[in-house]
């Protein structure tokens, strides 16, 4: 078998863990991180004003709202941390990671999925609670939602791999954490 074909999961037409599949997601996460960091620095009063081209003082209203201060850390800083984790979990591991390290693939899916859902929730809260919109918050929410689809295919490949391992009575624990001794027992 050649180097590339054995990285394609059985029954798949492509490898969802290839770099061409993962790097665009990582790139989006980095853009999301940069925007969220900027918004977070405004919330921490490091940056005096916030860029808002469409909705007047909307961004200011949203970013200083009670919701944004529910937790001890401003919500955009938490968002920036989330994007950072997305990027890290997207980078770690080679193009066979769907079977060599399912834990990072599942973690990647868990970071990208719920983070995107929280972004949508925050979008809903803007008009419902505060009658305002925040342009850059909408941009980051769009980024998080766009990331979900392309991240999930890789998780699907990992979960299918774990199903095959389970059917072959191999310890799911060892498979999940990518123990050397179980590598290659199922493909």
């Amino acid at each position: 078998m050649t180097d590339t074909t054995d990285a394609i999961p059985p029954g798949w037409s492509y490898n969802p863990a290839s770099w061409s599949q993962r790097l665009p997601i990582v790139g989006m996460a980095i853009v999301g991180f940069a925007i969220a960091m900027y918004l977070g620095l405004f919330q921490l009063k490091v940056v005096p004003t916030v860029w808002e081209p469409f909705f007047g003082n909307g961004s200011q209203k949203i970013l200083t709202s009670p919701t944004s201060q529910l937790l001890p850390v401003p919500d955009a800083i938490l968002g920036a941390f989330g994007y950072f984790m997305d990027a890290v979990a997207g980078i770690v591991g080679g193009k066979r990671r769907w079977r060599t390290m399912p834990w990072i693939v599942v973690l990647f899916g868990v970071f990208v999925g719920p983070l995107g859902m929280i972004s949508v929730l925050l979008v809903v809260l803007q008009p419902v609670l505060y009658d305002a919109w925040c342009t850059l918050c909408l941009v980051t929410a769009a980024i998080s939602v766009i990331m979900i689809g392309p991240a999930m295919d890789e998780m699907l490949a990992s979960l299918q791999y774990m199903k095959r391992a389970k059917d072959a009575n191999i310890s799911l624990w060892k498979v999940f954490w990518g123990y050397k001794e179980v590598q290659g027992k199922v493909i």
């Binding site: 078998m1 054995d6 798949w12 979008v123 008009p127 299918q160 199903k163 095959r164 493909i187």
Partner: protein, 128 residues
């Protein structure tokens, strides 16, 4: 995929419609502001073939838009028409699966089903 692109735009339109149609009523605008972003998000997730199935989550939301004017008691004709037309379009477009060109080892149900595509293919493939 085009159907889910339109559904995403409909979700965005629904979100913006209270401002565009000049709706003062908080119940009507809240409904649009809650359902709109969720519809757009599900539609966007469904742009990719591996997660195309997520489009089906928009079916109940579309039906809700058909019912909402009557359940929540809308009194503006323009809004009733807006919500119902968008709702009907979302239901219809959510059923449109579109082309699936790739194969995905049998998809999400293959995680629990026996003898799914990935299992069969793995059996046929020689050990590395």
């Amino acid at each position: 995929m085009w159907a889910q692109v339109i559904n995403a735009l409909l979700g965005i339109w629904l979100t913006a419609s209270p401002a565009i149609l000049g709706i003062e009523d908080k119940t009507i605008s809240n409904n649009a502001h809650i359902v709109g972003p969720v519809v757009a998000s599900f539609a966007i997730i469904a742009w990719w073939e591996a997660t195309r199935v997520v489009r089906l989550y928009n079916i109940p939301l579309g039906f809700w838009l058909l019912l909402a004017p009557w359940v929540l008691g809308y009194d503006q004709m323009s809004v009733i028409i807006n919500d119902m037309v968008i709702g009907a379009a979302i239901v219809w477009l959510s059923f449109v699966k579109g082309n699936i060109e790739g194969t995905y080892g049998g998809g999400w149900s293959a995680i629990w089903k026996k003898d799914a595509l990935h299992t069969i293919e793995a059996r046929r493939t020689p050990r590395v």
